[in-house]
Assembly symmetry: C2
Homo-oligomer: 400 residues x 2
């Protein structure tokens, strides 16, 4: 009787602590929303943590916790209810995640990778130490170190990036050494930064790479980016990228080398510079689904979101081939106002074939805020581009 | 002050009665689930009514009411909270819906159409009265009327269908007049039935037709069905159907004529028989998304579910063109057991390109219960068929 009672108590205790949800997501933004969308047909249950009660993901999350991504107690509350936890944003309390991982909770990707990626200095050092080609760089701790470092490295034109906390082009400034020397531009950051020599690239491309728990790797076809130089944001991307087969193979090899070297499990976006001579340099990586992979939902047989779900659930990787050429347009908040908004021109583009509007459900527009995106698919790249050009002319975010 | 107070009270009252959800769905099965799935990227909110608290749609519905679809009070509770209401199943309390429609609540499709479709006798009469070709039929009220009616109409082989309440092949029996005459088969129904003369068709096809509030009509490409004769259920369908252009045009014309004649708004499945001489007969219709349109999620630029969302929201109809040839396989409960189950072979087929598993989240398997479906897309119909054949050999529903 004593033993039975003990077993009963033990089992009850175990049962009470059994995670209720399949997947936890730290962050409840659009990336989390689309991860959930792509898991519904497998009946996956999700819990999310986000500072906003009405985040994009929360209406379709099975359980939403409202709290700061820096709040260790809230992160623990999430993680304890989930069989495995992932993150859809880098800026989270990494110490809390590491402590929970040490006590046996399952995270994909591993917090060590997130910790490295969170710090653009560590990230660049990782590339340098592993012979992964990247642009020349120097790490500085405060503004007084800038000029000596720039002179020592002979940087003329460079990108300054905050080591921690930057996103969507924030925390990144493109400038010239002479502008500091002649005081026409003051040093924008006093925090630790990476200064990267400007490289004259002909193309910026991105490879989404997936790696499962068994170490299988699948790359998605490279996509080619068009940047809005003012916002320093991707506004348009096209897949497949217009690159040589040599560049394509090189980009696959680099992406694969990075995830293998890190023993990284999950979905990773590897942003690459392609130079005139077809040299390929790694710009930076993200340890999560990425804006440059949105087109995979309609354009590829398996999307980056489905692929991450498969990895989190221990299912085989899906086929990442292109189903049809595609383009992706970010729907960004207008520079002219903040507040409630409408997508003007929506009905016009809904009439087009192969046009998919994804709105993230954000109540307020802000300048350059990512409010949604549009994917365009068509049998040929030419048709895709024509449709994308028409859409760019037709839609706008306007006050409601 | 008095006027202000009055206006305030009036507004508050109006606000309290403002419907909270965009779309109400009577029924919470897989059709409702997929309707919701396809509305998430537009941030549509849904409320559902279903007898089961854990119906396929309820985990992703924003508000779920557990109750019988015959319960007028529950239907009213749903409808009052929604801007517009639709149904994903025919067997609902039509009187309740008509009363609510009369008091100003918006239903798509109109309850009149549902009322006609619910009764296979009225449906056949509608076709006959409107010169819409359909197989010869006779309506009987009880079993004593069968033999006289069969003799009078010279039916040798026929299908007997319950006028009301049949679904998924239930309430339908194929038999011969001689079997009744010689008592080898007793009359299966004493309720009102339609007896339809057997037609020797070479193909069964289906056209999903959409019609919006402005009267615009868009047909999806016809799909061709393969039946499991034991279960009398579609097990496999392929799109595009292998039919002549003449048959295709005829099927579009029939589908369009039906929805125009009925002034019907919504999504309708028109099931058709194609005879040896390319005559096309209307078998029956459903006033909702249909099993024979599941493939449109991945195979067409706009799915039947997105199309219905657009109609419900007053958005323009989407382009219904085929993106890639597709096939759809129903995942049916094994005849051998009832209870918890697994989809055996799932991991094997997840490795294939262009294969999409949709599980409906039903906890228990029952013989022939629709537990899910698989869509296959590929650049050619040949590849689609090869994959479908492989999948049919590979998967099975097994006890868990």
């Amino acid at each position: 009787v004593f033993i039975t009672l003990f077993v009963y108590c033990y089992k009850k205790n175990t049962f009470d602590k059994m995670p209720k949800y399949d997947i936890g997501i730290i962050g409840g933004g659009q990336l989390g929303k689309m991860l959930i969308e792509e898991g519904i047909r497998y009946n996956v249950s999700y819990a999310t943590l986000d500072p906003e009660a009405n985040s994009p993901a929360s209406p379709i999350s099975h359980h939403h916790i409202t709290g700061s991504l820096n709040d260790a107690a809230k992160i623990e509350e999430l993680v304890q209810q989930c069989k495995v936890t992932t993150y859809e944003i880098e800026h989270i309390n990494i110490e809390a995640v590491k402590t929970l991982a040490d006590s046996g909770h399952k995270f994909i990707p591993s917090p060590n990778i997130l910790e490295m990626v969170q710090d653009k200095g560590l990230q660049k050092q990782f590339y340098a130490e592993n012979n992964i080609p990247t642009s020349p760089f120097v790490v500085v701790n405060n503004s007084s170190e800038w000029l000596p470092a720039l002179h020592q490295n002979n940087f003329i034109k460079f990108a300054a990036k905050l080591r921690r906390g930057g996103y969507d082009g924030k925390g990144v400034v493109l400038m010239q050494t002479s502008e500091i020397e002649n005081d026409s531009f003051s040093i924008p950051f006093n925090e630790p930064c990476v200064l990267e020599s400007f490289v004259n690239c002909t193309k910026e491309i991105s490879v989404i790479v997936s790696r499962d728990l068994k170490g299988n790797v699948q790359c998605f076809d490279p996509v080619e980016m068009e940047f809005d130089e003012v916002a320093n944001l991707v506004t348009y991307l096209i897949c497949p990228a217009q690159i040589s087969n040599k560049v394509k193979i090189t980009s696959y090899n680099l992406a694969t080398k990075i995830v293998n070297q890190l023993d990284a499990v999950g979905i990773f976006a590897i942003e690459l510079f392609v130079l005139e001579d077809e040299t390929v340099l790694v710009n930076e990586m993200a340890p999560r689904p990425h804006n440059s992979g949105h087109h995979t939902i309609e354009g590829c047989y398996t999307s980056q979101y489905e692929q991450l779900n498969r990895i989190l659930l221990g299912k085989p990787l899906g086929d990442t081939s292109i189903a049809q050429p595609s383009a992706m347009i970010n729907i960004l908040g207008s520079l002219d106002f903040s507040g409630p908004y409408i997508l003007f021109g929506e009905d016009e583009i809904l009439k087009m074939a192969g046009v998919y509007i994804h709105m993230y459900g954000k109540a307020q527009s802000k300048p350059n805020r990512k409010l949604g995106h549009i994917t365009i698919i068509a049998p040929t790249a030419k048709e895709v581009k024509e449709k994308a050009d028409y859409i760019l002319k037709t839609i706008s975010i306007q006050p409601n």
